[in-house]
Amino acid sequence: MSARLPADDPLQGFVGSAPGPQRVGMRVLLALARRPRGRALLGRSKSTDQLAQMLVSLGYYDDPRVATGLGYDAEAVVARGRKLRQAEGRP
């Protein structure tokens, strides 16, 4: 599993919105993924490692610096939407 972790809060919001048991589980996974020994522990179970990677990936590739480098600019998508809505009187 990659150790690259997001620094910002969107991932925390995502985790915080989950139902209770999943929320606790994801927080444990993230805590483990942030530590070398935790990552080694995660590596012992393929399914747990994969879950941790899904979570970490969601945050890492959401980072505008990473996403823009891959050709996806969320701010530009939003700005185009706002401009269209204003220009055409959309809701």
Partner: protein
């Protein structure tokens, strides 16, 4: 239907914490998604005094960020992490707010297949056919600007699937969607930033309001009230802490397939047949990736714009799916360095989805006030996934993929996949308060009225008695239209 035309409130002022209000209306509509919003608008325009109670919030498109983690947390119930219990566990994302799941779905529009309607007649005694539903579908399609996606708007991800299907000679086509002025922002599931997607929160809800309906958001219905077996209203807990008592002789429930049976159960309604909460059907789904030679940029274009229905007769349909890098990274079935390497080539990644028309049936119940969804995949549906994944590989290879990434653990082939090997999401839950003409077999009758309480109707996917094999929003909206005109004692007008 007798009408009082205006919604009357016992006291003026805000619904502050601790306050109690009584609201009088002709019709109380619970939920503002595909079913509730349509019923509310059509009833309000027919002259009824309508109050709509929506547990979620009103979302301002200015707050949409096109970033999946943020939008999952805001626009979905439980952050899009509702999970079924069973083998395998399945993620079941549900929208939250005005528009319900239409706010976050892909906008795909299919009419109810004729074969499904025939089965509803023979198996459930429902008097529904293509001809009688045609005015309902036409009315909804016009209201939502339903039209086929153009190849240009569909983008390169759809072009990959099209190339594969054409080379294999498989039946395929571009999907019809409820969108107007779409520019292919690629984030239908995370809040349309252009308001092109015509979800019910920006179509039917404003229509209802213009016709005088009152909309309460942050309104959780505790229970539906009945008097002598007839609807009399609803008891509502507001997010602000206020309590609202709605008095209405008609209640139309559109809380969705997962939450409608729970609401009915805690109201002591709909239980006579023993079918409440049972018969849950889903469209379990998964998705595969391929690394192509050409640049795909899957987030540019309409994510779900193209389908392959060559195997629809076997219960297998392929539909487009795509999203921004974070979304793709979360579902890319690789680990470690292979994952990082494939993601570095994200512009060349293509993705397509596989949806199964299920024979499995699950159930919904409340445990400690929380929805518990049980669902186990049958052998037949496991077989459909095995066959579908094998064909998905064929599709991508025919399209010229350099590598295909199936959603299976390393070393597991589709033929040997076990339930626990599958990474599934599910969409389109249906059937937990199913319609059946016989009170012993269904929760609601052919007019969607509860068998055991007069004046209480169900207008969401829970009343749909079987899996459709296609996206269900049009079916739900058409049935809600039919219900509203039935309550208005009018024929559904044919659009000119």
């Amino acid at each position: 239907m007798k009408s009082s035309r205006t919604v009357k409130t016992s006291q003026r002022g805000d619904l502050a914490a601790g306050a109690t209000r009584t609201i009088h209306a002709d019709v109380c509509v619970i939920g503002a998604g595909a079913g509730g919003a349509v019923a509310a608008a059509e009833l309000a325009e027919g002259g009824a005094a309508v109050i709509v109670l929506e547990q979620g919030h009103r979302h301002d498109p200015d707050s949409f960020t096109a970033r999946p983690p943020q939008m999952l947390a805001r626009l979905y119930r439980d952050g899009g992490q509702t999970l079924t219990l069973g083998n395998p566990p399945i993620l079941l994302p549900l929208g939250s707010g005005l528009g319900g799941t239409t706010l976050v779905n892909s906008g795909t529009c299919f009419r109810t297949p004729a074969g499904v309607l025939r089965r509803w007649q023979s198996d459930f005694g429902l008097e529904l056919d293509e001809e009688s539903l045609r005015p309902c579908f036409e009315r909804v399609e016009r209201a939502l600007s339903v039209q086929e996606v153009t190849p240009e708007l569909a983008g390169a991800n759809a072009a990959v699937a099209r190339r594969g299907a054409e080379r294999l000679g498989w039946s395929h086509g571009y999907l019809r969607r409820n969108a107007s002025g779409c520019v292919g922002s690629g984030v239908c599931a995370f809040g349309c930033p252009t308001s092109a997607k015509q979800h019910t929160g920006i179509t039917y809800v404003p229509r209802a309001e213009r016709a005088g309906a009152r909309i309460l958001t942050g309104a959780r219905v505790e229970r539906i009230a009945t008097t002598a077996g007839h609807a009399s209203g609803a008891h509502v807990q507001m997010a602000s802490g206020a309590h609202v008592e709605v008095r209405a002789a008609m209640v139309v429930i559109g809380a969705g397939t997962i939450h409608t049976p729970l609401l009915l159960a805690r109201s002591g309604l709909g239980q006579a047949s023993g079918q409440l909460g049972a018969n849950l059907s889903l469209h379990p789904a998964t998705a595969a990736f391929a690394r192509m030679e050409e640049v795909v940029d899957m987030a540019k274009g309409v994510p779900q714009s193209f389908y392959v229905d060559e195997f629809a007769g076997e219960g297998i349909v392929f539909e487009g799916v795509a999203g921004p890098p974070s979304y793709a990274a979360m579902s890319l079935p690789l680990t470690g360095e292979r994952h990082a390497e494939a993601m570095a080539d994200y512009p060349r990644l293509a993705q397509f989805g596989l949806m199964v028309s299920d024979s499995s049936r699950g159930s919904v119940a409340s445990v400690a006030g929380q929805a518990v969804i049980r669902y186990d995949l049958t052998d037949a549906d496991l077989g459909r996934f095995r066959a579908g994944l094998r064909r998905m590989r064929e599709l991508f290879e025919a399209a010229g993929a350099r590598e295909v990434y199936l959603p299976l653990p390393p070393g597991v082939t589709p033929q040997r996949a076990r339930r626990r090997d599958l990474k599934l999401m599910a969409f389109h839950p249906l059937g937990t308060a199913r319609a059946d003409a016989r009170p012993t077999h269904g929760v609601v009758d052919g007019d969607l009225q509860l068998h055991d309480a007069r004046g209480v109707y169900v207008a969401d996917g829970s009343a749909v008695p079987s899996s459709l094999g296609v996206n269900p929003q049009m079916t739900i909206m058409a049935l809600a239209t039919r219900l509203a005109f039935h309550l208005r004692n009018e024929e559904v007008p044919c659009p000119s």
